[in-house]
């Protein structure tokens, strides 16, 4: 007995530990979550009602047309998708009360007091039947991004933190100032059938 034999480590509890881990992961793992752009469709028009164009002041509408070659026409001029976000932001915000941009109306908002809000603005998105889906999603994405950026900027200026991390009430207040208004007009066939 010059050297004592090293006692074997009892490994029978190893399996228990492994099982514990397994169960932990089973409970906590979420299968890859589906992501996407959430939108709300307008309610259907009653069938007997004639299509009536809603009276919207021309300066309140921001018209985005997307043709069958995925080209973008914004407010009557060609535009690259990259520049859409900036343009939409300028339109929604109407910082300098431009007469060509949406009307600003005073509104009472919590935390902010009375603010001038472009609350009647509408972004009208029209696409062709031959438009590629990816192009359409890109345009939608840019428009949503414009709103998100505006909200985030306001939130940082006012509350000093990101819009995402605000509580519900404050988020609601900001949503009131920048309401998301993207209208998808009744489909039309511009490009003709090919």
């Amino acid at each position: 007995m010059a050297k004592r034999k090293c006692p074997e480590i009892n490994a029978s509890s190893m399996a228990d530990i492994a099982f514990l881990l397994l169960i932990f992961f089973l409970v906590t793992t979420t299968m890859s979550v589906d992501k996407g752009l959430s939108r709300r469709l307008p309610a259907p028009l009653p069938e007997n009602m004639e299509k009536q164009s809603v009276e919207v002041n021309k300066r309140n509408t921001f018209i985005v047309l997307l043709n069958s070659n995925n080209q973008l026409l914004v407010q009557g001029e060609f535009l690259n998708v990259k520049d859409l976000r900036e343009k939409a932001k300028v339109f929604i915000k109407n910082e300098f009360n431009d007469p060509n941009m949406p009307v600003k109306k005073p509104m009472d908002v919590e935390f902010f007091g009375t603010v001038e809000v472009t609350k009647d603005h509408i972004i009208s998105l029209q696409n062709d039947r031959m438009t590629q889906y990816q192009a359409y999603i890109e345009v939608q994405n840019e428009l949503v991004a414009a709103y998100n950026e505006l909200r985030d900027e306001l939130s940082r200026a006012k509350f000093g933190m990101a819009y995402e991390s605000l509580d519900e009430e404050r988020q609601k207040a900001i949503q009131k100032i920048y309401p998301q208004k993207i209208s998808e007009a009744e489909p039309k066939n511009y490009g003709g059938k090919k």
Binding site: M14, G36, E138
Partner: protein, 158 residues
Amino acid sequence: MAKIRKEGKKEVPALSTSSLPDLIFSLLFFFMVATSMKEVTYMVEIRVPEATELQKLEKKSLVRYIYMGTPQREYQKAYGTETRIQLDDAFADVRQLEDYVVRERSAMKEEEQPLLTISIKADKDTKMGIVTDVKQALRRAYALKINYAAAQRMEYNP
């Protein structure tokens, strides 16, 4: 000489296999994390478009999917190469969509019915024509909450 020395030395201890289950488990974890379950087998080719402003789809029980794309190769003989709609595990027509939504909704709990979300999973090369038809059908069925499935894009590079 060598023989004597060999006998004098201790034997090589048997390789401990007690950590083998751990190894297996870690493999299992890896696969668990890496795999994502597919609810249906796609019969159409879908490569979702990319976007940046995405929201997570929560509560799977409130979500129904509409798949759109060109049929996969094994179905092309029967269904052609035009964009098709897949509902659950079968090809469908736009006209069946309304019924489908109504049926799915009535199968849900009453208090959850207004929360029904339709996720449109369409291939990025789909033409908007069929997507518009689907949207119109959804409007008629009063399924107004929709979601365009998309993949996250990190950088803006069109």
